[in-house]
Symmetry: C2
Subunit: 418 residues, 2 copies
Amino acid sequence: MVEMRKPILVSEAVRLVMEHSYLGGTDTIPLEHTYGRILAEPIIAKHDVPSFDRSPYDGFAVRAKDTEGAFGDNRIPFTVIGEIGAGHVATSGIGPREAYRIMTGAPIPDNANAVVMLEQTTEGKDRFTLRKPFSEGENISFKGEDAKEGELLVKSGAFIHPGTIALLATSGYATVKVAKRPVVGILSTGTELLNVSDELVPGKIRNSNGPMIAAQLTRMGLGYKSYGMQEDDLDACTEVVRKALIETDVLITTGGVSVGDYDHLPAIYERLGAKVLFNKVAMRPGSVTTVAVLGKKLLFGLSGNPSACFTGFELFARPAILGMQGANTPYMPRMQAILGEDFGKPNPFTRFIRAFWEMTSEGIVAVPAGFNKSNAVSSIARGNCLIALPSGTRGYTAGTHVDILLLGSEQGVSEWVL
Amino acid sequence: MVEMRKPILVSEAVRLVMEHSYLGGTDTIPLEHTYGRILAEPIIAKHDVPSFDRSPYDGFAVRAKDTEGAFGDNRIPFTVIGEIGAGHVATSGIGPREAYRIMTGAPIPDNANAVVMLEQTTEGKDRFTLRKPFSEGENISFKGEDAKEGELLVKSGAFIHPGTIALLATSGYATVKVAKRPVVGILSTGTELLNVSDELVPGKIRNSNGPMIAAQLTRMGLGYKSYGMQEDDLDACTEVVRKALIETDVLITTGGVSVGDYDHLPAIYERLGAKVLFNKVAMRPGSVTTVAVLGKKLLFGLSGNPSACFTGFELFARPAILGMQGANTPYMPRMQAILGEDFGKPNPFTRFIRAFWEMTSEGIVAVPAGFNKSNAVSSIARGNCLIALPSGTRGYTAGTHVDILLLGSEQGVSEWVL
């Protein structure tokens, strides 16, 4: 008899996966290697930013009170007593109607409290005149205006992007504490699989899931251990999975999770004593997506169908791998779009359609990226998002507002809402 | 006298940069290293996908005409004459009321033209009964339904993402022709600069632009050559730039492009005979952004102010580097958002504000990411987009619809429209 599996909601599946994504350790690494890592410490301003009052322009540092009354032909003259380049400090303060020539980024000299931009003066060699007054603090970048010493600037758990790195550099973080990345293994199962370099033979297809998942991990900045391909042989597969689980924190397999006679993953989970969190999700494609846990290790049993495999990775494996790093925004960004064409299939389950979004004069429009079946490959190549269609509907017409999830977006969001 | 520079529009600056982004060569590399590269050949289906009619389910392959008349109690019995696992081929065709047990992905045997799902049967050991008719072609994945042999699947110039890799694998591209990546150098100039590991001293700041640009390049999948930091010394800087231009295709410098006495980049361009494409852009921050060209090499003179530097890279250097690889979508994706708070500053020039967008119950809302000046660092760390406010306005109120450009998005768009 066919095993009857009870499908769970996508949101429940996500919840279960995240609940079993155990936090790994931390690494302290040089700043220049931190792009794409997850912060395992908050960024705290170690000093005021800027750390001194400075000039945001090339110009002259003056005392505002000396500029009072300057107007049109009633120009006020100033004597230039020196020059302050960026990186230098004035040797003295300034007196009445004195000024320092000052460069962008240079510290404001003592007594000065305004900066006159170069183009606001009529300049001679050692003197200039002004025809408008300046107020106290005008054109000054104040100490601490960007950040105050001790201020929490970025929380632990944040994704480290170029802007984060600029802030870490400014704050003197030559090394940074980041989350360890889990070691992820990939195993493709199926007697039908050929290597990419193999010629096609009847009944066989090339393994596309293995390279695809490798790239999905690469996109996340992770390396991977490849366990290659295995035919549908229970004993042989069990041994590979057993070995892989010694060497990895997460094992992603493709194929073998359905209820067919050659679907051995369920038996393998049983043999190894792994606890199956779910083996059916109320979604298309990828309803057979299975996730099991053994100790603190996660086993993702993704469908052998490429579109289903792709979707299963993005919906479950990706946030879990981020969760294991303590990431506070592990989910794909969501936004609303206008459905660009009719989608006639009914949706007994939530449907995730590989799609392409773009901004148009009508707003954000998302169009299914072509041939739509769980075994489709071409549509994964053409998509930049997933349209999420709720279950319980009879199809959608063009113009409907739908949710889309952005693929390949560096930063994510903190909540799963579908 | 202060040199008067004529600002050009952002769109014109983008056009000029792209016009001078010369296409480099190509590399042929193993499929597993192609993530993030730009395709230098189209992906053509080398065979139909699927390459044979196959079963999308576990079930029984039958002749549709044998199922005619099946209804409720009028069950029709079938004899199972064999089994076809994925990767195997049936040893014979089927005759009247015969069936093969067939697994997902297995080829349809001769004469069969429908698949009965396992759960649609009442199954015995070697036989089963049906209580509904099946039509010809029902539950069959047809040869070529995903792609036809010879079909153009993805154009040359596309960004290679995991879905592209799945398609390349399916089509047997064990090696792929991709665009060579330009060699990019980074040089930070400014006497005020300290290394990240240095203690602060009066008048000095740590170099944040160098590490930031390195990360902006890493985000694009590129390596970089670092030329470290240089004080504002014309001769020394000239020599470093001269050397860097021998070793790189693109040189990104920070600082030294304004009109101050220590801004040496303009003189360096002149000494080297580089043609300045523009040295002032009608934008904030980063109006001093300068781009020059020497032969086929591009020199980006970015502002020393971190926010301006960041923005200059994303607006100009990023698309140019993609353009040099023949990328057909080199620009940041744009979308509309609701401005989440008042932005009071007038905009004599187009303004790009580091901001944070998120989906809310009101739609997509973008909020400036804090302290907003060209020398700000903290806001770059907090942002996930740039709000683009057109010039010629007196500030904006919350609720206005504004354009935003998405940062850190893997795939871009083909046109610059701001």
